[in-house]
Structure formats: C-alpha cells, structure tokens
C-alpha cells in the first residue's frame, strides 16, 4: 500500500468527493463552451456575473434542502415544501397588497413574519401527524402537498397577486455588501442551522432517531419532540425559500410557485451524499448539491439543449444515485474489487490500474 494509494482511497471515499468533482467538471465544461462564464465584475457596487447568478439561484434549493435533510435524517420526508412556498408567498403578498403603504419597512417585516409563521404552522401540523398520530411521513406531508396549493389559491382568491414593494423585492433581488441579498440570507441561515445542529448534540440525536427510533427513545432521546421540531424547522425554511424565490417577481402564482421543488430539495440532499434511509447526514454536502443542481440547470442552457430536458436530467441523476447507493450495486462493486487485486501482488505495476479502478 503506497501512501498515494491510501490518500486516493480516502479522498474518493469522502462523501463530498463525487459531488465536488462533478461540480468542478461541469463548471469547467461550461467555461469552455461559453468563454467568460466564470467572469465576475463589479457594477454599481455589486458583484455581477454568471457565478453570482448561480449562487443566487442556489439559495432556494439550499434552504429547502436544509429542512429536508434534517427531516430525512430522522427517517422521514417532507413532500409539502413546494406547496408551503406557495402558501407563504401568497400570505406575504396578500398582506402587502392590502396594506396602506407596501413600501414601509415595518409592513414588509410583518408580511415576511406572517409568511414564516404560516410555514411554522404548516410544519407543526406535519409534525403532529407524524409524531402524535404516527402517520407515515410521506403520507402526512402529502396531504398538504394536495391541499396546500388549494389553500394558497384561497388566500389569493384564485388570482395571481402582484404588488410593488421595493423593500420586499430587495429580499430576492437586492444586494448587500456586494453580494445578492438572497445569498446573504441563505448563508446566514445555513451557518446558524449548521452551528445549532453540529455544535450541539442535536445532530447526533437526529441521526440516532433516523437509525433506530425505538432504541433512541429507550436511550433517553426525546424522539417525539425532536422529530416534531425538525418538521417545524422544515416548514419555516420552506416558507423563507418561497419568499426569497418569489420576491424578485413579486407575483404570487399559487399554481406554479414551487411546483416540483420537493424534487429539487430531495435531489440536492442525495447529491450532497446523504442517504434517503435516514441516519447520517452531511450539511456541507447541501451547499455543493445546491450549486451542482443550479449549475446543471444553467449548463442545459449553455449547451443549448432544450430547456425541457432539465427535469428528465434531474430524474435520471436521482435514479442513478439511488441505484449506486443500493446494497446490490455495492456488492457488485465489492465483488469486482475483491476479484481484481488477486493478480496484483504478482507484479508491482498492476497496482496502478487498481488505484484507477477506485476512481472509475
């Protein structure tokens, strides 16, 4: 075993190796296809350029995935996030629409808080079904996936509510310290959640619930309230994602805001190396996953593929990752590995191909 081989093995074994590699390859491919792709310039005191755009577009999937990842860690799933985005945006914009002065900062703060509170209520409802009644998570959250858009339509009375409110619009389109405000919001929220989860025992508790709820409970983890908290958090984050996503257009289109975004969130979580069975989760992987997802969407445009193929692409990625993570696929790989090194000890140069085999 050479030191190089061990370090290669360690690097490729890291959960973030493949997503990061894919991201770098895709970014390089994009900048080859479209020179100047990675250029960033300063205009009116704000950074502009494709990379900044990518960052901004990554915020919505990142916020959704952050909640989704914690829910998945406990062995659950939240399918209602797309509908929650629509509801929170509908509530915020309808409040602004009815307010006397939609540009007043205090009004905007109230509108945002209202949206977030609704997300909290929805999350609490999901959590109640899952923890108190023991309904399977995907069924419990599916109820709001069905009814949620109807509720959003009720709030907007079937219209596409549009408002003009510069401070609200700035949440999604403005810039702060040269960075898009949305990116700042996403980064702050991510760091806060990551610190809370990983600097306290919360993350470990979540993983223990995801691995085995009953044994976690028996060893003194408050499985019920912890799980509930996670669904509430996912609801609030989805509401925030809806506001950040809808702020630039200022239009609450209850039918289309966040449609299929639960897929985006799930794809980001699996791209980031977290398995859907619950247990171990990687928050840093979410950043890479969200960037990768946004870059895939952008790459489709840059390579001039029909934009209709993006969903096909995402679904293919999801299926591929699920197959790759399955026990059967892993046992195939292990069988190949265990048969390959047998001739290796006879000759020294044979080690090289086997090292390559790991990266292939």
């Amino acid at each position: 075993m050479s030191a190089v081989q061990t370090s290669v093995r360690r690097a490729t074994g890291h959960a973030l190796f493949w997503p990061t590699t894919a991201l770098v390859v895709l970014l390089v491919a994009c900048s080859v296809a479209s020179p100047g792709f990675l250029d960033v310039s300063v205009r009116d005191g704000a950074l502009v350029g494709q990379p900044v755009d990518l960052l901004r577009n990554s915020v919505t999937p990142l916020l959704l995935a952050l909640g989704m990842c914690l829910v998945i860690a406990t062995g659950g799933i939240d399918l209602s996030v797309g509908a929650v985005m629509a509801i929170s945006l509908a509530v915020s914009l309808t409040y602004l629409d009815g307010a006397a002065d939609a540009s007043d900062p205090a009004t905007v703060v109230t509108a945002v808080v209202l949206g977030l509170v609704l997300g909290l209520a929805v999350g609490a409802f999901n959590g109640m079904l899952v923890t108190l009644l023991g309904v399977q998570p995907f069924i419990a959250t599916m109820i709001l996936m069905v009814a949620g858009r109807g509720i959003a339509m009720l709030i907007t009375e079937g219209q596409i509510t549009t408002v003009t409110s510069p401070p609200f619009k700035a949440l999604g389109a403005g810039s702060l310290l040269g960075l898009p405000q949305a990116v700042v919001i996403g980064a702050v929220v991510f760091v806060v959640v990551a610190l809370v989860v990983r600097r306290t025992a919360l993350g470990m508790l979540l993983e223990s619930i995801g691995v085995n709820r009953e044994s976690a409970r028996l060893s003194g983890v408050r499985a019920r309230s912890t799980t509930w908290t996670v669904y509430v958090l996912a609801g609030v984050l989805a509401a925030l994602a809806g506001i950040v996503y809808g702020a630039p257009t200022m239009a609450a289109d209850a039918n289309n805001i966040g449609l299929f975004f639960e897929l985006n969130a799930i794809v980001v979580v699996v791209l980031g190396g977290t398995k859907l069975d619950g247990g171990r989760f990687y928050l840093s992987g979410l950043v890479v996953g969200a960037l990768l997802l946004t870059t895939i969407e952008r790459a489709v445009i840059i390579f001039q593929l029909p934009s209709t193929t993006t969903n096909l692409f995402k679904a293919a990625v999801l299926i591929a990752i699920c197959i790759a993570a399955s026990p059967r696929a892993r046992s195939w790989v292990q069988r190949r590995r265990s048969t390959r090194p047998e001739p290796a000890p006879s000759s020294a140069p044979a080690k090289d191909p086997s090292a390559k085999e790991l990266t292939a």
Binding site: M142, A147, G150, M153, L276, L312, A316, P327
Partner: protein, 361 residues
Amino acid sequence: MTTTSSPAGSRPAPAPRDPSSPSLLQRLRRPDVRYLPVAGTLATLVALLVVGQVRYSTARQDFVSMKLISNLLIDNSFLLVLAVGMTFVVLAGGIDLSVGAVVALVGLTVAQLSIAGWPTPVVLVVGVLVGTACGTVIGVLVQHFDVQPFIASLAVLFLARGAATVIGTRSLPIDDPGFSAIASWSLRFGEGRTSWRLNASIFIALGVLAVAYLVLHHTRFGRTVYGLGAADRGHAVGLMGLRAERTRVLVYVISGTCAGIAGLLFAFYTKSGYNLTGVGMELDAIAAVVIGGTLLTGGYGYVLGTGAGVLVYGLIQVLNAREGLDSWWTRVAIGGVLLAFVVLQRVISLKKGPGAAPART
C-alpha cells in the same frame, strides 16, 4: 375480535368458516374492526348522496339518478382505473406516486403517434405499454435495488413528466378517426331530461375493476399481494413458498399498466394530450384508495371499497360544482377527507395494538 388478533387477520375473510365463528347477528352487534374503514366510506357516500338529494333535487328531477351515476363514472373512469392499480401497490405495502405523470406521458405519446399516422390499435397498445414500462422501472428499483417505493416512484414521476415535456409543451389535439370513434361511442338509455348513457370508458374501467377483484380475492397472486403488506414486510409470504419477489415487482407493473389504460381513458375524455395533465392525479388516486378503506400500511383493504372511494371523490367534485365554489375548494376538501381517513386508520391500527402497523415504511 378473534380474527384480528391473529396474523391471518390481515387477509380478507377466509372462505370456509369454522362452526364457532360468530353469527351474522353477533357480527352486526360487534362489528369487525376491519370493516370500519369501509363502513366509513359507505357512510360518507350515503351522506353525500343525501346532502345532494336534499339540496339539489328539483320538482322535475331527482339529484340521485342513473344520470348522476353515469356522469360520475364517465368523469372519473380514468381515476377508477388509476385507483384500482394503486390499490394493488398499497395493499402490498408500497406506494406509486408516478401515475399522474404517466397519464400525461401516455396521453402525449398517443397524440403524437396518431398525428404521425400510426394505426389506432397499435397506438392504443403502445400507450398502455408506456405505462407498463414505467411501472416495471419502479418495481425493479424497489425489489432489486432496495429503493424506498415513494422515492423510486417519485423519480419515475419526474422521469415521465420530463419525457412528456420533451415530447411537447403544447396541448396536442387527437383527431384520428378510429380514436374519436371509440371516444364518442356510447349506449343511450331513457328519454329527454333523465336520459343517461354508458360509454367505452365506463366498460373498460368497470372491466378493470372486475378483473382486479377476481385477481385479488380469488387467486394465489392476490393472496401474495395481501401477504406482502403484512407487518412483517412479506417475510411470511416467502416462508410459505409464495413468490414474494416476483409479486412485489408485479404490483408496480400492474399499477403502471393501469396508469397506461387510465392515460388512454383520459385521452378519450379530453381528446388531447398535454404535458401538464394529471398534476396531483396520483394524490387523487391515493385519496380514493384511502377513502375506500385500504390501510396505507398495507395488508388491509378491498378493491371494491376503492370503487366506492372514487364515487365519494367524484361526488365531492359534483357538490362543489353545484355549490358554485371555485375548483380549488375541491383540492382543499379532498385534503380534508384524506386527513380524516388517515387519522381514522391510525386510530384503528392503534386500537389493534402497537405491532399491528409499522410507523415507517
């Protein structure tokens, strides 16, 4: 209550009754908890019919009539077929979220092929096979790659929706003469205001329901489906020598095929294909199954109950329209009814004891 305490209680009523089994009167006095969801369904159905009869009957026309029933069946034939396919999957302890997207994909495929001038029978067969293929992918992912059913079917949902979007983003009309002939064929009964009709979609949908009933309740395959949904994740089925693996793939193939047939029926109904049809239709199908009394944890339920569930769904829509409410109220109402039945199911399975239903799938 003797039947529910044994593992065999997860099966439909066994045909030969031993002499000690309770008489009809005793059973009526202490109803078997298994029939509670179905009883709830029938009660809901009757309640909706009564509300309709009281509120919307006029001197000239009763609300409850053959016309109402034939309209319900015509408007919901595709949903009935979807829900029947979903019943197989849910009984086996799985879920299929892809069916709505498959309906859209099948509709667009059919539209595109008939525009390309393919003969009608070939187009219809290809349409159904598209559904079968989608179902097979889910089944293989679930059985052979250990992917959770809702993730596998979610992936196929987006795959089918993505493929439909690639085929076209505009609504394509289907004006193939053979296709239109099937779509507009119907048998008419009665005269004038009270006339009602039966069309091809009704016969196909009821045929699917009848076949499903026979398969689920009178074949070894049907027994295996119920056994797969038992709390032991189908281990007992395997130990009994029934082919659990093959059956688990087949339930998804059946569901996909049903989605293919439903796609055709929906194309008959709208005479067009569009990539955004059927968004949320999988939830309508699941709602119909749940309202019909099938437990989402698997193992319990009746496909005929699913038929009643579809009627409840259709009636909610009709009442909604008669009240002049906007269409999104239907969504909220369906969500509410789904919630009520899910909660009812949990209460029932909690009563039966903690081991009766696993909280996670």
